[in-house]
């Protein structure tokens, strides 16, 4: 709705002032007249992103009972064709990969496996990695940050130092080191990626706790003699949770990308198809030449998911006016 209004305003502007292209540098000029700020709305994009995430999560969770094709089965197609040796028309297998068709909506790979099914199978692992990573980051980072922010003093110093050290590590090198030396289970990879989210989440939680712990309602609870643990959980946690969860969404996005990165380095979750692995298998020169969809379908899913998480996080941060800027990178 917001978008629509703005676009309409644009058109009116364009009609009324022909010379605006030259004269105008920015529409907004600060003057004595207060211009009414746009009402805070989450916008159409927010709901679109939410819809995609709900859809992909639903598909991932319920894929075993949904009527998808078997992700690991080879759907070799046959056709009636003349045998060049005998001259007889007989049923012969068609060389995969098969392009998208009514049978395989998004095509198959070189082993005639259904790409849609494999991508949804990949969503299960990739989303699980994202969720576990964010969970780990929020539990560890959030706890440390809140403790540091609430108790201050020496605890704050120690936790701050831990965050500083974690942030000083080159993240990806740390991740491949741990994964290479330990194992490549879902849990190890999630926890490893989660460590990277601990410090940013923790710092945010600390800052939020710090500012809220000076507020009246916390003071009031303290003077009433509430236990510290109670104040932390009942009074502070709800207020820290919203900004923290916006960051957690970014962490999910980073984790999904991180899994893909590890896959490209040959270090992703063992024995399962993840988005990263699916893209990697599709990105060889010959596969890209003959069947680009093998790489581009999972890539599209990954992109939409990462973009949705990024966008949601962005919008919610705007909405709740969280001022820090977070920059994700890979």
């Amino acid at each position: 709705m917001n978008e629509e209004q703005e676009i309409n305003a644009d058109e009116v502007t364009n009609d009324s002032q022909a010379s605006e292209e030259e004269t105008n540098i920015s529409d907004s000029t600060q003057l004595e007249v207060s211009e009414f700020a746009d009402k805070k709305t989450l916008g159409f994009g927010f709901w679109l992103a939410t819809f995609w995430l709900v859809l992909i999560s639903f598909l991932a969770v319920f894929s075993p009972i949904l009527p998808f094709k078997d992700a690991d089965k080879n759907y070799i197609a046959y056709e009636q064709k003349e045998n060049p040796l005998t001259g007889k028309v007989q049923e012969r297998p068609v060389q995969p990969p098969y392009a998208p068709s009514g049978e395989h909506w998004l095509g198959t790979d070189q082993d005639a496996r259904d790409i849609l099914s494999r991508t949804i199978e990949g969503a299960r692992i990739s989303l699980a990695v994202g969720a576990l990573t964010a969970l780990f980051g929020m539990i560890v980072g959030g706890t440390l940050g809140m403790i540091a922010g609430y108790f201050k003093g020496i605890l704050d110093k120690i936790v701050g130092a831990i965050f500083l050290v974690v942030l000083s590590f080159p993240g990806l090198i740390l991740a491949i080191l741990i994964v290479a030396l330990l194992d490549r289970s879902l849990l190890t990879i999630s926890v490893t990626l989660g460590i990277l989210g601990v410090a940013p989440i923790g710092r945010l939680a600390r800052a939020q706790t710090l500012s809220f712990s000076e507020r009246e309602f916390v003071m009031a609870a303290e003077t009433l003699g509430a236990k510290k643990s109670r104040i932390l959980i009942k009074e502070l946690l709800p207020n820290v949770l919203i900004p923290m969860s916006t960051l957690a969404m970014l962490v999910i996005a980073v984790a999904i990308v991180g899994e893909g990165t590890l896959a490209f380095l040959g270090l992703s979750v063992q024995n399962s198809a993840t988005w990263g692995k699916l893209i990697l298998t599709g990105s060889g020169l010959s596969t890209l030449e003959s069947s680009p969809w093998v790489a581009f379908v999972p890539m599209g899913f990954l992109f939409l998911t990462v973009a949705s998480f990024n966008y949601l996080s962005d919008r919610i941060r705007d909405y709740f006016d969280v001022r820090d800027i977070f920059v994700t990178r890979d």
Binding site: S26, Q30, I173, F264, E289, A295
Partner: protein, 337 residues
Amino acid sequence: MPKPIRRLIGLLGLLTIVSMVTFGAMNFLGDPLFNILGPVAADVDNPESLKVIEEAKAQYHLDKSLPERWARWAWDFVRGDFGVQFSSSGQPPVSDLIKERLPRTLELMAVAQIIAVSLAIPWSVLAASRANRRTDKISTITAFAFVSIPSFAMAVILFYFFSVQWDLLPDTYTATDPFWGISHDHRLIQLILPGFTLGIGSAAAYQRLLRTDLITTLQQDFILMAKSKGVSKRRVLYSHALRPSLFSMITLLAINIGFMIGGSLVVEQFFRIPGIGSAVVEATLREDFPVVLAIVMIVSAGFMVFNYLADYLYTLIDPRVRNEDTSKPRKITSMGM
């Protein structure tokens, strides 16, 4: 003590901790002896092997305690001796590998950042000068999309279009040539695809920051003043508004450069650029600890130095903060790997 010096000492402390953690983790999680000797290391029943094991232990000080080994390593390290590569035949010094690999990564990084900045600036200026109009909205969505494309995906996309489909650009790097050996032009062409792979994402991230800052700047009185002086729109944007808007972008640029000293591992891997990033991946997989340790140290140090520089760099653009430490740009927390 002045603040910059205190911070430098803090950085040295951090580096020490980073080295300790890495050193400890590698020795706990891995088995250095095995990496040096191979299967022989496990063959303790055989007196022949046992002798070799004892010798190796003595040679690499593996019989000493962990702190002592770390201390020996650190002492060697500060004197410039990074140790030897366990996993290569003849065990050449680690510094040889670094000397070979680091320039490639730095060159890739430079190409990528030049691409990023030269895309981001006109892009942001265009968007900010049409703030909230259609051009700007489309460009914001585009920037958002590019930020959300991971570099491995970008690599596949660019590779597909420019190498596979249109066959315009070389897809691989002439890995066998030494860095200083082949003609420079040739290598720059090879760096176009990997450079764009890294550069487009960075450009989008810079655009998001720079556009916002530009819009804020364009609302300042001095912009109106410049306009009233009859300065053309273009000149207002580029010579009045741009410079005071660069702070956040410069900060992120410095952080990014620091980060990319580690090489974008994936891009180096994908385009087969034998840089520092692919070196660390190979070394990790082979558990070649001296190499990993040396690279971790170099990358961490570079990362920290550029983060540190980022805080002082904007004094170059803003004459106001040269003397006193007043306005700080927005807080940027970078997250990822």
